[in-house]
């Protein structure tokens, strides 16, 4: 039994609506420092919207209204003046790989440059470190100048992860990262995540129940914008989770 960890993200009574339609109905939970926190649930459970609330890219969605509080490191995100700093603190990996139409090097150097880093040597080191962490360095080190968009799907997804790591985030959110890539690449990335958990907090949104079981410390089952159950993996994936629905979803009886 490890000592209780510090709270990294605290969500309290969070409600999100798009126009008239409420999609998150007042949920509360904590994510602790350096854990892998999985969020499972069927489509339309507002899993991705939840992530957008955390890094406040929900601001870019017309008609979205957030109520309730999200704190990152004890600070209320809705009151933050420097959202760019917040977003750099939170790495985000989208479901479909997005290689920006830039060279592989520039893809990874994009965020540090946007934050004002200009020295070539520092950028070089950073690009190599991030690509190595994302298990992509060996495949692309000889062609860093070629376009990120020309890589294969699996490579682009690792490039996306490298880009998310490039601003040295303290939290890494992965939204269905394995949806567009093959099982072998998925396993490679899962290995990467296991190494990263030492240093950073990982939020793993996934449709693959088994992936959550393999990787996470705790898992939250979200359904229709409400938490059905949140618990450690040994409870969630046991024969007796608190909720019958959890048992049925995890075991493929429903959902």
């Amino acid at each position: 039994m490890s000592e209780p960890k510090q709270k990294k993200i605290e969500v309290s009574n969070l409600r999100l609506s798009y126009g008239q339609k409420e999609v998150i109905h007042g949920i509360s939970f904590d994510i602790r420092q350096s854990e892998i926190f999985a969020i499972i649930g069927p489509a339309q459970s507002a899993k991705s919207s939840l992530l957008k609330c955390i890094n406040r890219t929900i601001d870019f969605v017309p008609g979205a209204k957030v109520r309730g509080g999200i704190k990152v490191d004890g600070q209320d995100v809705s009151k933050m003046k420097n959202v760019y700093e917040l977003r750099r603190k939170i790495g985000m990996v989208a479901p479909l790989p997005v290689g920006l139409p830039l060279s592989i090097y520039d893809n990874v150097a994009f965020a540090p440059r946007a934050a004002g880093m200009r020295t070539k040597a520092a950028l070089d080191t950073l690009v190599e470190r991030c690509l190595t962490q994302a298990a992509l360095w060996d495949e692309v080190k000889d062609r860093l100048d070629s376009l990120g968009t020309k890589l294969s799907g699996g490579q682009q997804q690792r490039l996306t992860i490298a880009r998310a790591l490039s601003h040295s985030p303290e939290v890494l959110c992965l939204d269905e990262f394995s949806i567009a890539i093959d099982p072998v690449t998925t396993m490679r990335i899962e290995e990467v995540l296991k190494q990263l958990r030492e240093k950073i907090t990982i939020i793993l949104v996934t449709n693959l129940v088994q992936q959550a079981r393999r990787l996470a410390d705790r898992t939250m089952f979200l359904w229709n914008g409400e938490i059905v159950e949140l618990g450690t993996n040994d409870v969630m994936f046991s024969d007796k989770p608190a909720s019958r629905q959890t048992y049925e979803y995890v075991n493929g009886i429903f959902g």
Partner: protein, 297 residues
């Protein structure tokens, strides 16, 4: 298996329908080219006796019955250049605002509606507006600047629309990826959106050259004159406050006002007008091909 290789009545009918559809659509596409080719060929044949370098570089003389079109040609170049210098930056920046920054509220909707409606205003109405606003109210008088501003207002909504379309063709996922790593909207626009939409934006702007060069009504009241003599061969012969001749207007006056003009003259003017536009369009296509070849996704 045999069914795969035998033709039934139903499959024969399908095959014939398919062929008929293809032929019809193909014919229509061909029909597009016919008028264009006919017009160009007819103009060239009729204009042939007059076409020469001197025709382009000498002023009209003898009540416009002889000489060339220099002052009109240069006037058109001035009008097009000045008006695009005004409308392109304003149009592109406005479109960036509307597509990248503006929230969906009543103000934005009203601006968009205004843009669409402005595009539908007939050119003669623009002419009257230009006369009232620039020539009389602003007091610049009938001049190249007044005519160019009138043309600029006419092309502005089209430039805004085409630019918005080019910007919208850059996938939203690119923008989201940038926002996610803490880039501002401007950084996203500067590094990702603009570099990947610039070919479309340029094409949209350059296509307005032909429209600007061809319009007669908006410049007739605001700055174009029947006749003006300028130093031949001097490209800086006009100043912005001068009135000028223009090819479109010249073509109109030569055909309707000048008696005993040589038969080939209006055709030659038309060829010059068309040629100018085609040269600019060719440049635009060249740019587009070049930028497309560097397209990155």
């Amino acid at each position: 298996m045999a069914a795969l290789f035998t033709e039934t009545a139903a499959t024969r009918r399908k095959r014939l329908t398919e062929r008929l559809a293809q032929a019809t659509f193909g014919l229509m596409a061909l029909a597009l080219v016919v008028p264009l080719v006919t017009i160009v060929a007819y103009l060239f044949v009729q204009a042939w006796p007059l076409l020469s370098w001197e025709f382009l570089t000498s002023n009209p003389i003898d009540g416009m019955r002889r000489g060339g079109i220099w002052s009109a040609f240069l006037g058109t170049i001035y009008l097009v250049t000045v008006s695009l210098c005004v409308s392109a930056p304003i149009g592109v920046l406005a479109a960036v605002y509307l597509n990248e920054y503006a929230e969906d509220n009543w103000l934005t909707r009203m601006i968009n509606l205004a843009v669409v409606n402005l595009a539908g205003v007939p050119s003669i109405v623009h002419a009257l507006f230009g006369l009232g606003a620039f020539v009389l109210f602003a007091g610049v008088g009938r001049s190249i600047i007044a005519a160019s501003l009138t043309l600029a207002i006419m092309t502005l909504p089209v430039i805004i629309a085409s630019t918005k379309e080019s910007l919208a063709s850059v996938p939203r996922s690119f923008r989201e990826a940038c926002w996610n790593v803490g880039a501002t909207r401007w950084q996203t626009i500067r590094r990702i959106v603009l570099p990947n939409s610039v070919s479309g934006i340029l094409t949209g702007v350059i296509l307005q050259v032909s429209r600007t060069a061809g319009e007669t009504a908006p410049i007739m009241f605001t700055g174009a004159v029947f006749f003006k003599k300028i130093p031949e061969g001097d490209v800086f012969a006009y100043s912005l406050t001068d009135q000028c001749m223009a090819l479109s207007m010249h073509l109109y006056t030569v055909t309707t006002q000048v008696t005993n003009a040589p038969h080939a003259l209006p055709y030659a003017i038309a060829v010059a007008l068309l040629g100018t536009v085609l040269v600019v369009n060719a440049l635009s296509i060249g740019t587009r091909v070049y930028l497309r070849s560097r397209k990155k996704w």
